[in-house]
Symmetry: C2
Subunit: 233 residues, 2 copies
DNA sequence: ATAGAACTATGTTCTAAAACACAAATATAG
DNA sequence: CTATATTTGTGTTTTAGAACATAGTTCTAT
C-alpha cells in the first residue's frame, strides 16, 4: 500500500530536532538509511502485535495511534501531527506494538531503522535525553488521560477532545474551524464514548451555541465555555 | 515526617541496576549524594504540583502513585515494589509532578539528585537506555491501562487489579494470599470504581469461590477463573 | 482500655450512558 | 451518474454502576 516518495526531501529540515544533535558521520548514515513512504487515507502504518523496526517521523498528514479493546471497540490513544516522532516506544521496551497506527488522511512518513537510532543515542547524550524527554512527556499525558477518560462525564470528555484537536492540528483560516475532518466515530473513539453519544452531545453543544457544525467541520464558537465544560462537565 | 536512615546500606546491592553501569568516579559521586529516608505508613513521599528533585528507589515497603481527579476522587496510577525507581518522569519532562506518591506501609526510600543522574546519563549510553526502557515499558502499561479502565466492566477491572497486585507483591507463604494489606478504598481507587462496588464485587467473588477474604487479606482460590473474569468480565 | 474515627457490609434508589431501532443524509465505488 | 454502503441524527428502552442510607465492625490514638 505505501509507496516510496520520489521527490528529494531535505532531511536536515524535516528531521531537524534529531538532525541538529548528530555528527557529520551520523548524518551520513541517517541519510543512507532513512526511507520516506506515502500512505493514503485510512492506510495502516503499523499493526498491533507487529515487531517494531523503525522510528517514524510524520512529515505530512495526520495519524492516529489506537488500540482495539473489549468487543472490537477501539480507543484512540494519541494523535500525531507533522514533525512528531512515533512508533519507537515498543522497540525500546523490547515488545511488540500494543497499539496500531493509521492515516487519518494522506501522509508522508519517514522511517529510520531503530537499530541505527539506538546506536546513535548510546554515544550521544543529547539524543538520549531527547527521547527520554519525549517519553516522559507522553507518559505524563497518559497518566492525565487515564483520569480524564475514567472520571469525566461524556460532555467533559468530548469538550476536552475538541480542545485537544484544536491544540494538535490548529484552526483553519477563519480562526474558528478545527483543522481536521473526522468521522463522528473517530471523535467517539478519541473520547471513550459510543458514536451515538458523540453525535448527540455534539448536537447539544450546537444548541448551546458552544460550537457550530457543517458536516464534519467543527467550528468553535465559544472556547471559554468549551474549557468550562471540559472541566466541569 | 521522613527520617534519615542510620544503618549503613550497601548501595552497590540496593541500587544494583544502576550501580553496575557506573564508573568508579560516578559511584563515588553517587555515594556522596544519595540519601536514604524512612517513611511511615501513609506518609506522603511527594505531592502533585511539587517540582521533582530526586530519583527515588524503593528499598523496602510498598508505594502508590496516584492522582486526584474529579471531585476529589483519587485514581491509583501505578504501584511501586522494592528495587523499582520512581519520581523521575516529571523531572525529565521538565514539569511539576502530575501525581502524588504515598507509602502503603513503612518504607525505605533512596533519594538521588536528578541533576546527578542527568549528568551521568549524558555520558553513559547504557544508563540512558536503562531509563528509556523503563519509560517505554511504563508508557506501554499506561496505554493498556487506559483501555482496561475505560472498557472493562467492574468485575473485569477488579479481577485485573487482584492479579496485578499478585504479580507486583507476590503471595504469602501459603502460596495463595496476596502479600499486601489494602483498604477496600485503595482497591477501588486502583480499579476505578466506588468503594461500595469494590466491596460488593469482592463479596461476589467470594460467593463464586474465586477468592476468600479474611479482613483485608485476600486469598486467590481459583486463579484460572480470575483470569477469565479479568478478560470477559 | 476505651472512645471516637475510619472502614466494611448490604440494601435501596437513581441516573448517565449504552444498546437498540430506524429514518434521513452523505459518501464512495462501479 | 447512479446505486449501494456508510455515516449521521433522534427517539426509546435498558442497564451498569453511582449515590445514598444505615448498621456493624475494626482500627488507632490517647
Amino acid at each position: 500500500m505505501p509507496r516510496k516518495k520520489k521527490d528529494v526531501i531535505d532531511l536536515s529540515y524535516s528531521l531537524s530536532d534529531i538532525w541538529r544533535m548528530l555528527t557529520d558521520v551520523e548524518r551520513e548514515k541517517l541519510r543512507n538509511n532513512a526511507r520516506v513512504l506515502q500512505f493514503r487515507k485510512n492506510d495502516l502504518i503499523y499493526l498491533e502485535d507487529e515487531w517494531p523496526k523503525d522510528l517514524m517521523c510524520l512529515f505530512k498528514g495526520k495519524v492516529k495511534i489506537y488500540k482495539s479493546g473489549v468487543g472490537g471497540r477501539s480507543q484512540i490513544i494519541r494523535i500525531v501531527r507533522p514533525m512528531q516522532y512515533f512508533g519507537y516506544r515498543a522497540y525500546f521496551a523490547r515488545e511488540q506494538y500494543v497499539t496500531a497506527a493509521s492515516a487519518f488522511e494522506a501522509c508522508t512518513v519517514c522511517m529510520i531503522p531503530m537499530e541505527l537510532i539506538e546506536q546513535f543515542l548510546r554515544e550521544n547524550g543529547n539524543l538520549a535525553l531527547f527521547f527520554i524527554q519525549m517519553l516522559s512527556v507522553d507518559l505524563g499525558i497518559a497518566d492525565q488521560r487515564v483520569v480524564s477518560l475514567t472520571q469525566k462525564h461524556v460532555r467533559g470528555r468530548l469538550a476536552e477532545s475538541l480542545l485537544f484537536l484544536k491544540e494538535s492540528y490548529g484552526l483553519e483560516e477563519d480562526g474558528a474551524t478545527i483543522n481536521i475532518y473526522l468521522a463522528r466515530e473517530d471523535l467517539a473513539n478519541l473520547s471513550n464514548m459510543t458514536t451515538s453519544n458523540a453525535i448527540r452531545t455534539l448536537s447539544n453543544f450546537v444548541n448551546e451555541r458552544i460550537i457550530a457544525i457543517d458536516g464534519r467541520k467543527i467550528k468553535i464558537i465559544d472556547e471559554e465555555r468549551l474549557h468550562k465544560v471540559s472541566r466541569i462537565g
